[in-house]
Symmetry: C2
Subunit: 141 residues, 2 copies
DNA sequence: CTTAATTCGGATAACATTGTCCGAAATAGA
DNA sequence: TCTATTTCGGACAATGTTATCCGAATTAAG
């Protein structure tokens, strides 16, 4: 459904949200350990998230990453990494697929995509951090 | 959502269903022209569909492909090409994600996956061929 | 000022997916 | 039987994704 990079991005963001307190920073090592992702690749994704302004970073010792200071939806994270394809592109790959010029599966999958889009736009990182803190939701294994 | 190969496979199957009459065969050239896909690559996908027993083929002049002689669901086509990942794997990529050991997004995406699985299992090729025949649904462009 | 820890940026490697090419095997029809 | 047409199967090329490596820039702290 999402690319590997996007899966990591979502875990990164949820993790940072779950440990967030007053401008504290988390470093690359902490993050990749917490979510079980390869360090070097995770660094690349962190850079993308910083450039997309979903994260802020600070260099040097005591440096690290923290969430941008505003509510963030899952859709923002997904589109920052994977683009809008998942909520826009035709399931059969038609360049022009719309109500006017629909593919045979159009209607059935519009419903699914709307469902997905709904969840992605209405769910914020804050909505998912609870279980992590309580220890009954997990980001790795 | 689906791989390119799977998109082509779905179009192939829907196309064959839409032109099907009494054991008539369609050749590779016809098929790839009808769905707008690269010929050589399409040939590979046709082979996979034959091996999965969703299609039957005949060689030689007047040879070609036709649907297996039974109802076929979208799920069968998708799993034949992409495997069961789309309806089984955790959105965050956790190897063990279940009711017992859920990821933070588990519940929200179980609902989406069930919706998807429902559409894939209840929709048969026959259900999609109508619009093609009537000319108000399209398989390319 | 020096050192150590960190993010940043570019190059590159490993792997998967997409796509092409070509000869072999099968087969209908002359 | 011969030929033309088709699917089959393997090798390979092109592209995209995932992942690693390393030096440069930044910065806190001694």
């Amino acid at each position: 459904m999402f690319s590997k990079a996007c899966e990591y991005a979502l875990k990164i963001m949820i993790y940072l949200c779950s440990i967030q307190e007053e401008g504290k920073l988390a470093g690359l090592k902490d993050i990749s350990k917490a979510i079980g992702s390869p360090e070097a690749f995770t660094a690349k994704i962190l850079q993308q998230l910083v450039r997309s302004e979903l994260l802020q970073s600070l260099r040097g010792p005591t440096g690290g990453f923290k969430l941008a200071n505003r509510p963030i939806t899952l859709l923002e994270v997904v589109t920052a990494i994977d683009g809008e394809g998942i909520v826009k592109k035709c399931v059969l790959g038609l360049d022009e697929c719309s109500g006017d010029h629909p593919c045979p599966a159009h209607d059935k999958f519009v419903a699914i995509r709307d469902h997905l889009k709904g969840v992605l736009t209405t769910t914020q990182l804050v909505d998912l951090k609870g279980g992590i803190i309580e220890g009954n939701r997990f980001l790795k294994l």
